[in-house]
Amino acid sequence: MKTLSAADIARRVAADIADGAYVNLGIGMPMLVADHVPPGREFVLHSENGLLGMGPAPDVADADPDLINAGKQPVTIRPGGSYFHHADSFAMIRGGHIDVSILGGYEVAANGDLANWALPGPKPPAVGGAMDLVAGAKQVWVMLSSHVAKDGTPKVVERCTLPLTGLACVNRIYSDLAVIDVTAAGLVVTDLLAGLEPGQLQAQTGAPLRFADACRPLQPETA
């Protein structure tokens, strides 16, 4: 069965963001959301290294080493943007001024715990701004390019086993198979890949799922 591509997931996430929202996109897959803003809608993208109004990557020839995003890649600034220092930038995050923080994840637990910063191994640890974002943003959404890991292990679990990024912080999960709300009453599937049976999703999920009455079908659009 064809599942949602990363672009499909990004398109769906973008569609869920309210007009005029202030949004922080994590490094990697969440960056794709910027490319799928619906026509006529305006978000303000926040980059934690001191930029509001982040625009798309410039042509190589126009890249400015002074204008980069949190992933250290060249970007642009949109009209109405602003620059500020790191303490002010994280005041926006910690102070609850960011409407939505969109992050990748290794594991998300049924209570909203998130693990997305540390994997076992000899590499030195590195956390960046992930812990600030999940603690501070009004909404935290996690994008999973695949609902399960390469070895088939669920990423949506009863309890995280990897080091935590934050407690009970995730509000919604977008995977290639489903959209899942994290509620006080547990995980609620609001959208399910067209053709996938609820039991098939449950089989690939490490925590009990409920399915919303009005659960919508998700249609892959692009390869």
């Binding site: 934690e48 080493p65 002074d66 620059y83 220092h85 930038s89 590195a126 812990m131 603690a135 407690l167």
Partner: protein, 222 residues
């Protein structure tokens, strides 16, 4: 007459009493943007030992912080994200146990430095509550939510990179090369600034770092 300008990096670094073995040094920059490369190179040439360096990243390639690390000047790094494309020098020293690492969430790092500059010895933040990075730290509830007590970071010296400066040490920055530089400038006993261009006077409405925080400046071009 107040005049904080120096003719060269070497002249600027000469006689800075706060630069000594074991000193804590704040180094501005995020990725390659706003890194005080010339001051780091000058610091490297001083051959100090056992420095604690506070900086978001831990250098890449063989220049900047990577050179300072490779020269054996650094005993301890305080970073949010020491890994990056090309952070080979740091990773090898870390693997060999030759440099200690304190990992701090990026916003907590910025706020701890800002607190150091603002005379706040400690503050509470929800960031990292319940995670391994809060282990061993005091925690406390306010209005039913858990927070961690974080302590200010103050340093002996801050190295910052700015766009313009005047003789009073007022600074402006360029785009996202601003990043950690203004908060670090506040939090050291001696703040040294390399700037792209010296100007007669920065417009008082657009000063980002007022001269009160800056002790010496040197023009280094782009």
């Amino acid at each position: 007459m107040i005049d904080k300008r120096f003719e060269s990096v070497a002249a600027l670094l000469d006689g800075v009493a706060d630069l000594h073995d074991g000193a804590t040094v704040l180094v501005g920059g995020f990725g390659d943007a706003g890194v005080p490369e010339r001051l780091i190179a000058g610091l490297c040439a001083l051959g100090l030992r056992d420095l604690t360096v506070v900086s978001n990243n831990a250098g890449a390639g063989e220049h900047g912080l990577a050179a300072l690390l490779a020269a054996g000047c650094v005993g301890r790094m305080v970073c949010s994200f020491p890994r990056s494309a090309g952070s080979v020098v740091f990773e090898e020293l870390y693997a060999a146990g030759k440099v200690a690492l304190e990992i701090v969430p990026q916003g907590t790092l910025a706020e701890r430095i800002r607190a150091g500059g603002a005379g706040v010895p400690a503050f509470y933040t929800a960031t990292a509550y319940g995670t391994p990075l809060a282990e061993g730290k005091e925690s406390r509830e306010f209005d039913g939510r858990g927070y961690v007590l974080e302590h200010a970071i103050r340093a002996d010296v801050a190295l910052v990179h700015a766009a313009t400066a005047d003789r009073w040490g007022n600074l402006t920055y360029a785009k996202t090369a601003r990043n950690f530089n203004p908060v670090m400038a506040m939090a050291a006993r001696t703040t040294l600034a390399e700037v792209r261009e010296l100007v007669p006077m920065v417009d008082p409405e657009v000063v980002v770092t007022p001269g009160i925080f800056v002790h010496r400046v040197v023009e280094v071009g782009r």
